[in-house]
């Protein structure tokens, strides 16, 4: 359980950084089109939140992803068996 928590949080942090980078670029580009250049404070604020949320909930997302993967494959197999 602790291992899952750690793995999930690390995965979450990595995904969070990627997502944060993407988000910052989107927001900064929008402000640049409006003529505002330099460090985008709003973009930075949203990025920090993004990293924080992903890290905090990373383990839950990982657990749900694992459960979802298992159950979806199982349900497809059951449906296939019914059809056959």
């Amino acid at each position: 359980m602790i291992l899952l928590l750690w793995i999930g949080s690390v995965c979450g942090a990595i995904l969070g950084l990627l997502h944060a980078f993407y988000l910052y670029r989107q927001i900064a580009a929008r402000y640049a089109r409006a003529g505002a250049f330099g460090v985008n404070v709003r973009g930075l604020y949203y990025s920090i939140w993004t990293v924080a949320l992903w890290t905090l909930f990373g383990s839950y997302v990982l657990a749900l992803w694992l459960i979802g993967s298992f159950v979806s494959v199982l349900s497809r197999l059951i449906l296939k068996k019914r059809v056959l």
Partner: protein
Amino acid sequence: MKGVRRVGIIGTGIAGLATAKTLSAEGLECTLFERGDRVGGVWADGYSSFGVQAPKELYEFPDWPLPEGAPNFTPGPVFQQYLEDYIDHFALRSYIRFNACVTGLEPRDGGDSGWIITIGGDAGDDREEFDLVVIATGLYSDVPNKPTFPGKEGYQGAILHSSEVRTRGPLIGRNVVVVGYGKSAADIVAEAAKVAKNVHMVFRRTHWPVPRKVVGMLPFKWVGLSRMTSAFMPLYQRSTSMERWLHGIGKPLVWIFWRFFEIVIRLQCRLGTEISNGKNLIPTEPFESDTNGEGTMVTPPEFFPLIANGRVSAHRTEIVRYMPDGVVLKDGTRLAVDCVVLATGWESEFNYFSPDIRMRLGTDDDGFYLYRHLLHPDFPKLIFVGRATAVSNIITCSLQARWLAELIAERFVLPERADMVQEITEIKAWKRSWMPYSPARSTRIFLHAQHYHDELLKDLGIDPLRKRGPFAPLKELFAPYEPGDYRSIVSGDFM
């Protein structure tokens, strides 16, 4: 859009009124045509117990809140009065022509310089020219869809469309069958259960309902109307990289989210209840695609209990013919009924167009497709406001009106014709790839409304992230967008 001064608006529902308010505030001369004797569109013509199926904080004009004390899930008459007050507040009444049924709409010089509206009246036809015409007649008030079945001539009972059930009168003490499984069907069934002798409901397909409160606690807007839910819907036509990742490697998350939601709805609404012939109410389509079909509805709280306790007999089949004293169903059941209510929706025919124009707009059986759900590239001065269905379409109509005002003022320009045609081709292919078929599929956006609203704002160069405050990023993800979030845009104060 050079030279637009006079605008003709057909329809005085929320779409027509929002457009008139926005354009008249820009200094344009607006004339609204209403075929009836009062405003409101579908709100003026409502059936008995008609009301808004969204909570009141989601269904009000962004710049004109509902009055304090207005009931939640606003009843039709209250909403109708709200529209009358809106007209008076924004001084729109003098722009409205009542009892003015539009019978013809033809282009002036090919449509590039405007349109000519023909209005039929007791004194004969009248013709007026406009630089731009807005069609704001919506999807729920043109021609009632009334399916016919063999034996109709011999049937001795009443056959009504849902729009004709204005009071409980036609239902009192009668054996009633309601045909359909949409919002109007559920509302009329609930009404009939209070006064009719027996109530039957006949439908070919069921759809996933949305309870007013999920698990009896969480208002549905928190589950269904957030950016997060939008991201979990089948990929939008122009999705972001993150959404593509979510639906790629993150697909199990999406799958389990919707399957969990279906389990909750199934249990809460008792969809497994056995109805006639051993069938039940569980839909066959997954929630995330079914919700973009015809029948998704926020059900009256009493609807499913009425079926579960037997007060309403539900039949998952269809009518094959009338008998003199009732109807015969496909599964062989004979129902002795003296009142048939067809809650089977509407058809949009646009009979005022010439066959040539109607053909050019599109004759696909799932409706004609428009650029930004607003205009056809061949007719840039013919705008359809209100042809994008969403849960809170009052927000959608208001934003569309603002989009149009900005376009007329040339504060942004349309893309080239070829690009608009390409966009329409892509959205057609996108919708047909996953949305269930319905005659109005071209208009459906529903839980993708957030994406659509963002697109309209990006066209105007406005930041689509509207939440404010220290917790704005959290609100952007989890909180539903409400009309108030767009107040400054709709009122024009964003510039």
